[in-house]
Symmetry: D2
Subunit: 367 residues, 4 copies
């Protein structure tokens, strides 16, 4: 199995380094006849791209996506779709001493240990720029979902920055695009603005975050026992994003503190099928979707590229202190929001096709 | 890709239902020449099997593993290893009304919705009995690791039961096998004993748990960008276990609350290579092992099979209350400990072989 | 990817050795709700099993298939189906000196070279007994095809034994089961009978064969560019059978001798869609089925296990002569007929599901 | 599994259409530290590219390969290698009526039937231009083999054009690059020259061919039972090439006519290990390499794009006659030679890595 690929039937492979000529995604298995144009993908790219505001890296990349194959007269042909994003603002000089020094908390050292030879410029393959390719691939998945399951809605947002959380009671999807943080709680967004400004300018520091991604109106029956579970694939999808250290479905880690009585999502019969009293399960039971909201959360660690000195070593084993200058995100979690949405779309489409393949989409009737 | 399989080069497929004649694992890609006997696997089965003490289900299954292929004269031949565990104590009568009623929080309803036809006896394929097959496959992985990387140690333990956590300062690996909970903290174990007795006998309830699995002395360099990351596969491995709702690597969800300065594992040079001041990363950077302890945690939800009544519906849509009699674990998290260890072993061996395949095990030198 | 597995969505893994306790197939991805019983599979096993007549090995194996999982109340549940066939007539003494001597033309030497350790009894994993597991898996595929595409007919037969070919003009499907050779030409069958008797009893020799497998009424549109082509998978399927050395689709190797004018299957419009003037293509264009008969042929080499002495070496490098006593097929091609049919069924079902997954089975209209 | 991908550990995915902006290959799993530059790949591209002489299509494509990722300072980094070849000479007007008419013997009709929507320009995805991407990927495999197994030599050549075969006794590798046909027999090449000129200019026709690819000095032990066999993968690799209708290993289809006594490659002990009296097996026993020459042959059908009229139908079902003008190869088999070599290199490298992964490259000793 290809180590830079993800997905079963709808499968993408990302390629490219931070400072190479381009990066992209090779998307295979897309249904034919799906309406798809570069602008349809670009809208998602624009949410993730750097330099949008002062809270993200000032690297200036238009992140323009080009469709090189698999689409003819604005519709997919069912053959591989190549998405290419040229790198335009590399400024390699910013990263000169990275070649010989390992940044603490960064993949510099493990890439060197594993491969012996690495593209150190801008983090090379381990750069968060790789997530641009995911968002592009996710754009294809979104387009296919729009055609195959138009009722599905996917929405991601930040619920925590550092120690500061939103008030879950104040979640308002309409608020998400009104601030620089994809924050669904206007009060929290205001507080984060001040906090991040101080952290960046005065504290020369960075901070972690929690992102929640919700998919509404996903039909019951997606996913499969036992290693192709929907939640298994969602966990893998989110954990594969740079800097992610934890993934939760529904109650997540908090499920440990619950009793069986409290955790049970009681079932009653509604006009259109089963209705649940709660959603501790996060929309997945036994690896298969229930029809409730699919709720996934993941934690992003703070970037290791900060202006504060940290102890480290050089390639030759000598000790040093590292300060990472350059243009880094004080909270990479912000730009992880569209990435999480993309991964949700990619997993859902893949499972929609898998389910259609195995079962033909037939459902056991209730009532 | 097979939906009931896991792994890349070392790959296993589990099969079987709770109340069928047998279940097992088909293990493919094992290195040849590995010492392997049924008792070597049985030792791990015995840690997971039911009925060991009053804190686990009273179903009485010896869970005897048989090796049907792939081993000759007590050594692996490099061909598929079939591991079979016969089901001996099915008592199908316990589960009679399950056929027509969906237990809240259980996969009954989603299996029905997806497949239209399911083996409802004892939960069928969705039963936690499937994890016996994982533990058997994990026994093969352990045997191979013992030969290829004998320094690697894998240890799992419970760190939380319901709202009651261990004191991390009191973790003592020697304590883990001294109590019924795989608890590394003797004081916590005593407290859990009383709590679980009350929960089971008086409260007719169940409770969740957190399990931590640590792998020591794993060489640096295992894992691969970007979708074949070591942490991606660990997250998938753990989330694929029944009832798991959250997975963490190193700091896990708590990483969100840290700043970049605090989260940096500073590096210095030791006699045998890089030494880290801390292990927030949980032994993985950029998806590749650092040589530090690999630290994974996962949360297990409380079992939905309890003696307390919960509202639900029947196949015909009518509403009902469900009480699950029968022999269920009040805290399934306990028996998830050897399962988590097995998944760790399976992922590590797979990545050891993958790495050897791609890189030949060559490492970039430091110092 | 698992090296002992075959298929994409409908995927099976075979396991087991000639003289171990059992062998079988783990079948994953079967659609749910398919009628399936052990006798339904057994009918195909009985066509392949040894000892049926004097022209096949006299090893006496009932080859009784047991379904251990994935089927409930005689219908598939969509979960893995484990098929087990116990070995009952091993007579290991027949194979005593095989441990130390390599038979020319046999996998003894390559298994030893690759793995260093092998189950030499009866050829171990390299024995043609493995094909029993394929036929069992093929029985599942046949059952699923019977439900999803009941119009599809699959028929295999021998067209050549040694230098003696059938007369293609005399092919009569009704004749195939009337002789010991799955020969569709009664006159050829009579001739083969005498030839094989002489070869076996007087010449102490064995002989090769060509098998043709035809699938009728396969819908247009199965297969996919470019590496998941229908013909690619058929070629892999047939070449994976023991002793096969060549595979042809339609004209096969003879296509080289044709001109473009002669090779063109001209198209006209029939009442139900396109009609072709000929079928040089063997039912596949661009890797996708045309709706014409799928025609595959493969050549089986003569078995290397013969009573005539051949020069070889021992494990210690010393030279020797090998005579293989025991119970061997004078023409293994005979029993390869049901195996080829099974592989055809397995590939077709897999592609039917793959196509349904990606395209939903929608077809571009003509006319 | 990705339908446009090939390989297990070393895996490539091709993308792109004949008349799109570009096509290419995404190569994953390459060992790190391999010397690789664009000119190293270009040398193989130049053997396949069109317009080299009057015997191939006059389409003028430089087929310049660009490396977009995975290589840093002229060495591979172990991350995905993106190879892009821009299309420069599309002349879409040549193909105008293809949109509405199906060429007999061409994938036009099956692509339409399967996908409902296709890029008809120049055959789109089904064009033999896709093989440029294979040759590029093969160039990476060649570079890796040069480092990991420098003794391996791969050579392809045509052995038959139409009904005209070479004399096997006259095979001379030195002759192969001395004529327009990759023909190893100078006398045959001269005859083919006249024949093809007549066929192209006077007969307005095309013709098929047989190509043989040989790999020398491949170590014993590559390949794996039972579905990951070396010959299974070679058969799939060759059958996946456009227009291939048959694949043979060693004796191939002719093995059917042999007896066991004649087919046995007798073994004796040489100074460096086993020595064989003949190579009927084509270097593969039980799916595993023996150390002898790997010998693969495949038949390429004549192209269906000819100037002679053939009966066909239009999209609307009306009948018509098709004459394909444009720039087509009178014998596509010629340019299939470097493609077959590329596929051989890709399969061998993949199996070298697979074997190293599973066995560590340890070999059972003989003598």
């Amino acid at each position: 199995m290809s180590i830079n690929s993800f997905g079963h039937l709808f499968r993408f492979t990302t390629w490219g380094e931070s400072h190479g000529p381009a990066l992209g995604a090779t998307v295979d298995g897309c249904p034919p006849g799906v309406s798809l144009t570069a602008p349809m993908i670009q809208q998602w790219m624009d949410k993730r791209r750097p330099g949008l505001n002062k809270n993200t890296t000032q690297r200036n990349e238009p992140d323009t996506v080009e469709i090189l194959s698999g689409v003819f007269e604005d519709r997919t042909t069912g053959t591989p779709i190549q998405l290419m994003i040229k790198n335009t603002d590399q400024r390699s000089k910013d990263y000169g001493d990275i070649a010989m020094t390992f940044r603490p908390g960064h993949a510099d050292i493990t890439y060197h240990q594993k491969y012996g030879h690495r593209d150190y410029r801008g983090g090379g393959r381990s750069s968060a720029r790789e997530t641009a390719a995911r968002v592009a691939a996710g754009g294809v998945a979104r387009a296919a979902l729009a055609q195959l399951a138009p009722q599905v809605q996917i929405k991601g947002y930040m619920t925590q920055m550092g120690t500061k959380s939103i008030n879950p009671a104040h979640i308002n999807w309409g608020e998400i695009d009104q601030n620089d943080f994809f924050c669904p709680d206007a009060a929290a967004a205001a507080e984060w603005e001040d906090y991040l400004a101080w952290l960046r300018k005065d504290d020369h520091n960075s901070v972690g975050a929690v992102i929640e991604v919700v998919a509404r109106n996903v039909p019951a029956g997606l996913g499969a026992p036992i290693y192709g579970k929907l939640d298994t694939d969602l966990a893998a999808a989110m954990m594969s994003i740079n800097a992610v250290k934890g993934v939760e479905i529904g109650e997540g880690m908090a499920a440990a503190a619950l009793t069986g009585r409290d955790n049970a999502d009681e079932i009653s019969m509604g006009p259109d099928g089963p209705v649940y009293s709660s959603n501790h399960a996060g929309g997945v039971l036994g690896g298969i979707s229930t029809g409730q909201d699919i709720v996934v959360r993941f934690a992003v660690k703070p970037t290791s590229s900060i202006l504060s000195p940290r102890k480290s070593i050089r390639l030759d084993g000598t000790e040093t202190e590292v300060i990472t200058k350059g243009r880094h995100d004080p909270c990479v979690g912000i730009r992880a929001v569209p990435v999480g949405e993309a991964m949700m779309a990619l997993v859902l489409l893949d499972h929609l096709l898998l389910d259609r393949g195995q079962t033909g989409g037939v459902r056991g009737p209730i009532g």
